[in-house]
């Protein structure tokens, strides 16, 4: 089963099998709906307009993608600045590694104090948790570039921008993508934790609202939608990697 089609079949089968197991568990075990809804009951929740799914998806999606894009820009830019100055890198890098040790979730209450609640603090939460893996892998990728390759460009009096655009960025791209994949998953977690801690909109907020009434089907649907948002982001990252990184240069 090593053909592409065979692998696809297996992958889809595994997902369908989980769905079937879920259905059978609820049906045969006569599990009450408020403990675990059936797949049908979960899907039914999606049809209820009072949950405002689209609006909540838009809010949570904005937090995830906004925080993530900011993390990407800041992470790569900081890593680049470190290649310009060894002193700056030696000064900031250990500090950043220490800051990375802070459980970002613990910052949640502080972020709410500083930025109130809403889309911005939740994006900041997603950003703060996603930026480190991207920064660390970018810095690593930029360091791995052969110094002689940089000499080649410097000898031709190439500009800093040319060096970045033609050598450093594409050279570090396989590493940057490995950080982006980790960051994508973390950004979703960050945004949801932000919504749990304080917000008035979004899928995480919705979960807290319906929790009081033990509306488990809606909670299941919210988790599913959050997962799909994460898969969308991750899928986009994979797609971009496929387009931008030559096969031989990809880091697993």
């Amino acid at each position: 089963m090593n053909t592409k089609l065979g692998r696809w079949t297996l992958a889809v089968s595994a997902h369908l099998a989980l769905l079937a197991a879920w259905y059978l568990f609820v049906r045969l075990g006569e599990v009450p709906k408020f403990v675990m809804p059936s797949p049908a009951a979960t899907l039914d929740a999606l049809l209820q307009p009072n949950y405002n799914w689209w609006g909540n998806i838009a809010v949570t999606g904005t937090e995830i993608f906004g925080g993530y894009l900011l993390a990407l820009a800041v992470g790569v830019a900081l890593a680049l600045v470190f290649t310009w100055s060894k002193t700056l890198e030696a000064f900031f890098m250990p500090l950043l590694v220490s800051l990375n040790m802070i459980p970002k979730v613990a910052l949640g209450p502080l972020i709410i104090v500083w930025f109130k609640y809403g889309v911005l603090p939740n994006s900041i939460m997603a950003f703060s948790i996603a930026v480190f893996p991207i920064l660390l892998t970018s810095a690593r990728g930029l360091r791995e570039i052969e110094p002689e390759l940089l000499d080649l460009v410097r000898q031709l009096k190439g500009s800093r921008w040319q060096l970045f655009r033609k050598i450093q960025l594409p050279g570090a791209l396989p590493y940057i993508f490995s950080g982006m994949k980790v960051g994508a998953i973390l950004a979703v977690a960050g945004a949801i934790v932000g919504e749990f801690l304080g917000s008035d909109r979004g899928l995480g907020y919705l979960m807290l609202q319906v929790q009081v009434t033990l509306d488990t089907p809606a909670m299941f649907m919210a988790v599913l939608l959050i997962t799909l948002l994460g898969m969308l982001l991750y899928g986009l990252v994979l797609l971009l990697e496929r387009i931008l990184v030559v096969k031989d240069a990809r880091v697993a």
Binding site: E146, E148, L149, D151, L152, V153, R154, Q155, L156, K157, G158, Q162, K166, I167, P170, G171, L173, V245, V246, D248, A249
Partner: protein, 253 residues
């Protein structure tokens, strides 16, 4: 080939120090336009440092470095091509795009550069590999592409730092012959750094010998062997005299 007697490169008492460490001292030699000069010596003799000084990547701490003459003016950014021990091709670019890199950085006309790159790939024996990625080529072929890249902006001076050091012995001999052919066809001045003594004599119109600990220039002589050079010359008595001369200087006899 017309060779004027006005030197293209003049080094007089060149010295380079890194902190406490003396990397080169008293490097003094001339290079005529169109010469292929071998710089030979053990690791740590400062040959790579000297190459970087010539490339304008490092400054020197003493002596004089003059490149260019009234008949052969020299622009340090445009007139140098470099080849390193590793091919250092960009993995994400096809071979033709790799060769074009210096032309892009210098902002040359891409239409002309593209034509020139194709011609150069043909000259180094890589016709048909334009659209391949580096990983699809062998080490020797990658190094040929690196040589084409070093020539694409039509530099007057080509600096080579042990370009065949990572190749197997047979490929290396073959690349030596290829380099002599390319050199003749392209008409460039080449400085060729190597630790291969027989390679230095085989390729060079002139050999400059550097010794390590302390780093200094030990010899500079013209190689009076007929051209074109052929591999069987390596078995000739005169070839042996040259290599013995170098071995003696390096204290290896």
């Amino acid at each position: 080939m017309h060779v004027s007697r006005e030197p293209f490169i003049r080094l007089a008492g060149v010295r380079k120090v890194y902190g406490e460490h003396l990397a080169i001292s008293d490097a003094t030699f001339d290079v005529l336009p169109g010469e292929l000069v071998s710089l030979v010596g053990p690791s740590g003799c400062g040959k790579t440092t000297l190459l970087k000084v010539l490339a304008g990547l490092h400054s020197h701490d003493g002596g004089e470095v003059r490149i260019g003459s009234p008949t052969h003016p020299f622009d340090p950014s445009r007139d140098v091509g470099m080849v390193f021990q590793a091919p250092l091709l960009l993995k994400w670019r096809r071979i033709l795009e790799n060769v074009l890199l210096p032309a892009e950085i210098l902002g040359l006309s891409m239409k002309e550069a593209r034509e020139r790159a194709r011609h150069l790939l043909q000259m180094v024996g890589l016709a048909g590999a334009e659209d391949k990625y580096p990983y699809e080529l062998s080490g020797g072929m990658q190094q040929r592409a690196a040589i084409a890249r070093a020539l694409v902006h039509d530099p007057k001076l080509v600096l080579m730092d042990e370009p065949f050091g990572a190749l197997d012995a047979l490929t290396r001999e073959k690349m030596n012959l290829e380099l002599l052919r390319i050199w003749k066809e392209a008409g460039k001045t080449i400085i060729f750094v190597t630790h291969g003594i027989s390679e230095a004599v085989f390729l060079g119109t002139r050999v400059v010998v550097l010794t390590a600990g302390p780093a200094r220039m030990a010899d500079n002589f013209e190689v009076d062997l007929p051209r074109p050079r052929t591999l069987d010359m390596k078995t000739q008595e005169r070839f042996g005299e040259y290599t013995r001369r170098i071995y003696r200087l390096l204290g290896m006899e």
